[in-house]
Symmetry: C5
Subunit: 354 residues, 5 copies
């Protein structure tokens, strides 16, 4: 639970614009990876100091600066100075509890996204905040730790296949968004399989901790949904093309992401509906099972209680009890008792109680 | 459950516009059926290669190209090239998880629809995605497998009865939409009958798996609803007539479909409300039935327990128990016991416990 | 249930504008009643053929053509031709599953309404669809069977009292709407009484089939609500006066109906809320009652079980059981047993278990 | 329940504008109280005939005509004639089931309000409909019976303290609205106390009829809410100042009422949320209590049943039962039985069953 | 509960603009603290009389007047006169039940906020209403009692660090808002921890009063939410910059608060969802536990009842019962009884009833 608000309170009392990293330090050293490319070539580097970045700023080629690790506030601050980024943006980059959002600062767009490793451990380390700053001819992206997410994208740039090398920085930002949203489908499919497994379980044999599974699944969906709903607005706003930074040709692609986001949300809502139906089934199954047991046990008691009464009657010590003297009394009484129990069983079966 | 997101994750990591068929291959060979008609005549053909289609593109007559089967990506790609269709549209045609949508690409409209065979097996193969591309004088439709859906429409074109032969491509697209929505009424009526049967069952004699029936019915409605809600927007947007491709005279007809869509949705919502009321009835019925059983069983026990106690009393071995010596002791105690049970039964009946 | 979608599927596969009556034939012969009136006089007729209607079309006086019975498609078609009504309107007139709607065809307005005989048999024959076509100086109304609804209105026209004779066709259409909505108050009051009776019942003595009553009441409300919600929009749109067919002076009256519709809807929503509260009360009452029974039964068992144990102890055959020899043993053990049961009863009462 | 729709059906069949009082006659005689005031002085009167009102209409001073009692339709009609009020307004004044609304008739505004005596008897006589007609320099208010509500306002006019004497008719109407809304706070506080008392009760000791209290409280809230929601729109619309009848200086005050209305609604919603939480607590408490009882009773049975079995064993009549001959057999078996029951009690306590 | 509407009814009957403090007197003496600062210096004072404030009004420097304690109506009134504040604003300042709001009076903005000490005692004294009046070059803030909230802000002004000294009154108002919203994160984190602890408890071992904890937590969230929802609108409206009092440069910062408010609300909604899921878990856990107990107890009974019957049989006094004479009868019957109980145990275990 703590993760829903980790570190939020720590900032209270600080002046606005004060930089504080609210996440956990997840990598040892902040790494900066730079890709500078145009239709003709690609240049990759890992500059040691922030100052080295200035050089890329001037080139006409598209520059992608990828900052991995956020705990070194000084580096973030210097990048901010270098590219003229507003202190409030820097503050938000470091505050890893932010919901996805889009802010238009005129010279650059600031986009916040959430990425999920896999929803199973979303609770612990799976959620990562990705901040993207899209300028005229550069993209700066900030990540907490995970490097693999954009590896495919990098490969595509290196290979020069597809559209990407011939397009501007806006297309790169789009491609990053697309990668993140495509990754949601993976998470969603995992989620869907978990839901399906759980549902099958419930129908076949409900177990005691299914309820907790349903609850934890619900919670994971809550976290996922919390990241997705605002994303819808973000991508929608990008697709409206109010900012001149997204060129006409890229808008069509951005709207395609919007479609995908809606699709993910739609499916998520369907899962939520299915899940809440499952709760009813689970509760009813468990209570049915328990009732079944109690019924059988009670039927056993109910059959034996009249028999015990009969045995009790012939255990009485009255002087004049003619039956006791009869030669066939004992086997007779057994017959009577067996008959009674058979009749009761038949009655119970007839009423479908068994 | 898997079907709610089948294959969605497979695309993750691919560049945008990469073509990948996410459905299952359902027909052996991709078939292309062409109808070229105007007021004067109809020409039907099944061209072997995509190149043969070019010929129809030029004619003033309305051309309907119906592609059945989507697994051969090459064919789809060549049709795209031939008619100048945007790669993102081709990507969406092949992604059979799309929600219904309408996209205006200026020269053509792209419409995605869902059709249902019958909701009973909607879970397995019943849902089919139909993509319609409406150009100036042509309609290209893409289907996964089912051919019968539009057979009636084809017959009407051949027969030349009604308005269709005298109208343009927009009317053909409308007629296809109309066919799909009319088909929803069939699915809805099936659904309604299932709901009705289930309801009658519940009132007469609730069975154990009624709960699962309710749950599965709910789920089918979810799937149906997921296809219908966006359709409402699609038809609504078409009816507003923002695109010049839908002529004034056809708009009236499109608005009529809008009415039908609303009607289907309305009825569906009513079914949903009824269904959720049925869950309450079912749970209450089951619990009532169980309670009834337990009550009867407990009443049997409660009558015999005091009797057993009396028998126990006269089974005691005290030396001085005067009753034991009485001549009428034994029949007397039987009388007492019968009286007690009758009084108890009377009391229980009076309190309406029986 | 079938009635929620009766006949909807039958239309599937037909071309648009194809006329098909989806209701049940409820009157033997289609009757056409004409009233032609102005401030000076009224002329009533029942023409045999549709051709006779043409004569009224020309007069400056207001003409009200009331068609009762919809199963003779030919008659409907000829009226359509005669007054220049669009085929889609005719199709909708015959499709008795339509939700209330308003369509502006320029020269005439098309209004669909629902009327209820009484909600008790709403399920069977109570719902009737009323279509009204409001032209410049004529109103054509189509009904399935019921004639009495507008009898009061006819009487007012004949009597020439009130405003109606001096007003145009728009006021006549308004008066018909007003009659239908006023009739809703009757249905609503009936509904309210049923809800009230049921509620009193529940508080006094819940019965087994109260649950089904609640369910069926809910369902009737669903049907009623389904007819009312769209009506709100219809009357609202009429009251905005976008169509020139409704004159300024009549708009005020139309807005008054809007108020009434809102009032009916408001009360209906209140009933719904009360009804869903009643379900909680019912379920809790039933479970309380059952619990009460089980508690009493269990208390009886619990009192006798220790007594039976004591009797059992003194029924043991040990050689050395001194109590058995005592002269006061038997009455003594009775005293002990009576004491034990009194103490238990006292304890149970003290804890408020009895 | 009837009160939610009392008399609504009676109007069905009447022509529009027909006057019919739908409430119960609550005062013997209709009283008309007139206050005519300006900065200089106040003149109070109770004219016998409606004709006497004409005199006040002409004066430049603000005239407040307060009609108490609505059952004398003739008087209402004559006032309507006298001040040129539309018949539909008169109809609405007499229809005491109206929801709060605002209608702008150009020369005057028509406002409908609801006032509550106290919510405890809201069900019976507490709700009163107040109609206010605000003209250029007059206010006509219609009430069913209660006179005390505006007594404070009258006193303020008489005293000439505060702003009211120096302001126009619009400020008087505002002051009446303000009085009504302020009165809601009283009702709300009462409601809050009832909710609080009920909640405390539930936590300490839930009683059987708490459920009905919750239900009746919910219902009272429904009635209150039904009066408040539309009021919000009414006051909101007044505050937008579209009508020239509300002067600029008064708008600020009207907007202040809007704030108060929101505040009442907000608190009401909070109470609703608390109330629905209380239902869960109540149901869970009751079921917990019942379970507790059943558990104790079952534990008693469970302890005695094995003991009874042991006693039964030594009550058997086998010839060779060595234990029966032992001298310490009887005390020994007592020891065993006491041990068994102690062990069982210990086990139950250890598992926290006791 | 009373606190949700404390003192609201007291105002009923008073004329509008009448000043009445609805809170509890929480400080002995009203304190006024003044800070007057610009880029060059800070001047702090605690003037004795309101008249002393006039002096600061004239200076070009930013003046912050902080009034702590609201029960001395005269002081509030004189401040109102001195700064030309509308009587309705003064009324609202004293009415501590106000929901957050923003009112633009042209020359000044009036902002109402809620601050929470800590949600644990939110029920008692934790909620405080903060009113802020933002003029051209002054800010007047009214608080009920708490002084520490803005201490950090004061320190920042004194220290002259950060942006604040160089900015105008609008930035000061922003900084106060920021402080209040930052404080919400603290409250939220506390809330989150309580929710988390409760959840862990429920999973490990549900206790009887967990239900009440859930209920009280829900209620605290209601209070918190009631303060936050309107704040969202307030900050949103401020950020739109319709008022000239907020300068362009400050708007960016205000929008940042908007983000934070959304974030708090988002997390709060997530907690609410989790909490309502917890109720299901709790109820199901409790009922599961109870069922478990009943099951075990019933199984014990069920095993002994047949054994008791057998013992009863051989306690019968029939003359001819051959078994009784057998030498191995007694040990034989023990063997039979042990076997029966073992078989039953095995059966129960096999069916997973144990």
């Amino acid at each position: 639970m703590a993760r829903l608000s980790r570190g939020m309170a720590r900032k209270s009392g600080l002046p606005p614009g004060a930089l504080l990293y609210t996440g956990n330090t997840q990598v040892e050293k902040v790494t900066i990876r730079v890709m500078d490319y145009d239709g003709d070539g690609v240049c990759e580097e890992e500059p040691e100091t922030v100052g080295d970045l200035l050089r890329f700023k001037e080139t006409a080629a598209v520059t992608w600066i990828n900052v991995i690790g956020l705990h070194d506030i000084e580096i973030i601050e210097r990048i901010g100075d270098c590219f003229g980024i507003h202190p409030l943006v820097l503050e938000d980059i470091l505050d890893t509890n932010h919901r996805p959002k889009l802010e238009d600062y005129g010279e650059y767009l600031y986009i916040v996204l959430k990425s999920f490793d896999s929803l199973d451990n979303a609770a612990e380390t799976g959620t990562e905040q990705i901040s993207i700053i899209l300028g005229d001819n550069y993209v700066i992206s900030f990540q907490e730790h995970k490097q693999e997410l954009f590896e495919g994208l990098r490969e595509r740039i290196r290979g020069g296949k597809g559209r990407i090398r011939r397009q501007g920085a806006d297309y790169l930002a789009y491609a990053m968004l697309d990668t993140v949203v495509d990754n949601y489908f993976v998470v969603l499919e995992e989620l869907g399989e978990t839901v399906e497994d759980l549902e099958e379980n419930l129908v076949v044999a409900p177990r005691r901790n299914d309820l907790q599974d349903i609850h934890s699944l619900k919670r994971r969906m809550l976290i996922f949904r919390k990241a997705l709903w605002p994303l819808r607005e973000v991508v929608g706003a990008l697709g409206r093309g109010d900012s001149g930074l997204i060129k006409e040709g890229t808008l069509l692609y951005v709207r395609d992401i919007y479609d995908h986001t809606i699709q993910v949300l739609d499916t998520l809502e369907t899962y939520r509906d299915i899940l809440s139906g499952m709760l009813d089934i689970y509760l009813s199954s468990v209570s049915n099972g328990m009732n079944q047991i109690m019924k059988v046990l009670t039927i056993i008691s109910t059959i034996f209680i009249p028999l015990t009464f009969i045995a009790g009657v012939y255990g009485m010590n009255f002087k004049y009890m003619p039956e006791l003297e009869w030669e066939w009394g004992y086997p007779g009484i057994w017959t009577v008792m067996i008959l009674i129990s058979l009749i009761m069983l038949a009655l119970f079966r007839r009423r479908k109680w068994l």
